[in-house]
Amino acid sequence: MKKSFKPALAAVAVSLALISQSAVSAEEQFFPLVSYRVGPYGANGQAFYGGFVDYLNYVNMKEGGVNGVKMAWEECETEYNNAKGVECYERLKSKAKASAGPIHTMSTGISYALVDKAAADKLPLAMMGYGRTDAVDGSVFPYAFPLVTTYQMQASAIVRFIKDKEKGSLAGKKIVYLYHDSAYGKEAIVALQAEASLNKFELTLIPVAHPGNEQGAQWLKIRQEKPDYVIFYGWGVMNQTGLKSAQKVGFPRDRIIGSWWAGSEEDTVPAGDAAKGYMAATWNLAGKSLPLIADIEKTVYGGGKGNLQDTSKLGTVLYNRGVSAAVLSVEAVRRAQEKFGKGKAMNGEQMRWALENLNIADARLKQIGAADLLPEIKTSCANHEGSGKVKIQQWDGAKWVPVSGWIEGNKALIHPLFEASAKQYAKEKGITPRDCSKEKI
């Protein structure tokens, strides 16, 4: 029996050797990808990280990197598990010492566990549409970036969309908030409550226990309540089950508006006909015909370097979201190089500065062919979100179609909530917030 351990020992030795491999050479910009492609949400991860890696490849193939600095990356599988996420982060961290692109975990739980660690290690942590939302306040969270938009701003934008649909008044209307009973679903409650008292609509909160593959009771309750709209923050199987259950009780799908974790092909296709007419928020559009996506298909997949095994995912909401996340990350690299030296790899601190001083206008987005892909973004020390805009899209049975322009949430109402929460965090942790007015650009 003892014999069988020898190969195992040898293998451990090999893996140790691999772990201690030297850092990436200087003229490469390294992206630590704390990703997931298996487990309950594996399909979502495959599309997102597929898009992310494809864009990095595209930048390398199309223009030879950013000012000659090639994009490099390494993936580590987290299976959407917090402890594994931390292990992955620690493993990739040593390679990110010299040059570090923002870390994308696409998991609220992992982001929460990494916020403090990344700040201590001076590595920028991007949380695009997920994660610790009060990190919008950059004075307390210098290294965490909930870029583009947050759960709360999204909820506020959805309310605004409904208000526009209802011809400007929500007074006396009834809205049900049906949510995944976790940090993800709970964050938006305060925002919706604030909106409810502002717009005088009646808000009913209905939580769904994880994983959400049974929602019979909840939807019967909704049927009884007869709300005008349902705002739906689901994730994974909860999305299909929700749509199917809505069909089962005969609730019209075009009165359900989901969050962007409930608005991808992975959510609607398995629900079949039940999803038709369903709407969801998104901060990036779907479609293969967008110039950038079409060019990626031609360049990267034409060149045989595509990351997706299943090319039918090209142009899906989550794939395009991965591309959008990569676009912002690469633009941040560009911004950092403008300030700290072109043709050099940027370290975590330099990238942090760049992410805090992003200014990507429509003109620039148009230049890279991403004009309709994502909204304009302009970040600052006090505002790590930088946009707060979403579009509402509708599932027509075969594809997602945008049905609104970019809608911004009620910043005046929501941002103070972040500041209060960040202040409490700073107090608990004994952090002295930076003075944002003294930050140099």
Binding site: M1, K2, S4, A11, V12, V14, S15, L18, I19, S20, S35, Y36, R37, V38, G39, G42, Q46, Y49, E75, C76, E77, E79, N81, N82, A83, K84, V86, E87, Y89, E90, R91, K93, S94, T108, G109, Y112, A113, V115, D116, K117, R132, T133, D181, S182, A183, K186, E187, I189, V190, A209, H210, N307, L308, Q309, S421, Q424, Y425, E428, K429, G430
Partner: protein, 358 residues
């Protein structure tokens, strides 16, 4: 040759009943501790501390707790992660709400809180046995996590239910670097492991084993089942609770109730089954195996795929990892159903005769 008990005569009861009766074991344990306390802190990298050694020690402690309950007292439980959650949230609240409380005291109180909750969920064990009890402990798993999500007071009214552990400060010294945290965790774990080793050879430990082997027979020979079983639940949950507090304060930093999932309970159960049910050493071996195997697969498989130019996509490699993990668990069970600790025992027996087995 090296490992021979012959000639070690015990002349007093104290000598006969000491923790490690064999001299070579004593030397071995001392060497191991010396290595863990002196050599490792000097050699290991930050990655090793914060991604491998600290979680290894914490999970070994939780596995030890479960092993006391399952391996020694024979009560199968699938709720260990929930008791860890109780420990983590209790320690956080003690730190938050009691002014100036030393951190180690709040860890101990967290353990006691978990023990209290453990006794509550241990009550059904007086009537229910075997897999019925295992599934019943799932009630603890889901109910506790739900409570932590639902009562905002427990997470200091944070809108997400996530708590961020406070600074670890002992006698004015702040434990911040992974190395310091490692030493703190190591000290706690070593002390508690020795205490466990001590506990299982007392009359309590023997009573547990009697209950495990057959509770009807145990009650016939005069062991009172109720206090014995409930004590096992209390001690086990205490260990899990302290492990949970360390998990929050020395490992992750921020924890959410959902993080203490059923999956984690299963992981702890894997550790004791792979490591060895009813063995203190087994808890450590099992924790090492279950934590290192996925990391090893994650690093090794892509490397192998590249080495042999296999056309695997990243997703496929990830799937193969899951598959191999499952296959290896089955393989180990088939080869040695009594766990890695049993392998060590066999090795010891062989060592006794080595190098002249005949």
């Amino acid at each position: 040759m090296l490992y021979r008990e012959a000639g070690q005569f015990k002349t007093s009861y104290a000598a006969d009943q000491q923790l490690f009766p064999i001299r070579q074991d004593r030397i071995g344990v001392l060497l191991l501790l010396a290595a863990a306390f002196l050599a490792v802190p000097g050699m290991a990298s930050e990655y090793w501390f914060s991604a491998i050694l600290i979680p290894f020690l914490i999970f070994a402690l939780a596995a030890l707790g479960l092993n006391i309950l399952t391996g020694y007292a024979g009560q199968l439980s699938l709720g260990s992660a929930a008791f860890m959650a109780v420990g983590a949230y209790a320690a956080y609240n003690f730190q938050l709400r009691v002014e100036g409380i030393p951190i180690l005291v709040s860890f101990a109180l967290a353990g006691l809180t978990a023990a209290g909750v453990g006794v509550l969920f241990g009550l059904p064990s007086l009537r229910i046995k075997g897999f019925y009890l295992a599934v019943a402990t799932l009630a603890a798993q889901f109910f506790i996590v739900w409570c932590l999500t639902k009562f905002p007071w427990l997470s200091n009214n944070s809108s997400s239910g996530v708590i961020s552990a406070q600074k670890v400060e002992i006698l004015g010294h702040i434990f911040e670097s992974p190395r310091e945290k490692y030493l703190l965790v190591l000290t706690v774990v070593v002390l508690m492991a020795l205490a466990a080793r001590n506990l299982v050879r007392t009359s309590t430990g023997r009573a547990w084993m009697a209950v495990r082997d057959m509770d009807v027979a145990a009650s016939v020979i005069g062991i009172r089942l109720m206090p014995t079983k409930l004590l096992a639940f209390a001690v086990s949950s205490f260990y899990c609770g302290v492990a949970g507090a360390l998990y929050a304060f020395c490992y992750l930093g921020s924890v959410e109730p959902d993080g203490f999932s059923l999956e984690m309970s299963f992981k702890i159960l894997f550790m004791i089954i792979i490591g060895g049910v009813g063995s203190i050493l087994g808890s450590f071996l099992g924790a090492a195996f279950i934590l290192l195997l996925p990391i090893f697969l994650d690093v090794g498989l892509p490397w192998l795929a590249e080495l042999f130019h296999l056309p695997f996509s990243t997703a496929t490699v990830s799937h193969i990892q899951t598959l191999v993990f499952g296959a290896l668990i089955m393989f180990f069970l088939i080869v040695e159903p009594h766990g890695l600790a049993r392998l060590w025992q066999i090795a010891k027996e062989k060592l006794r005769l080595w190098p002249f087995p005949h």
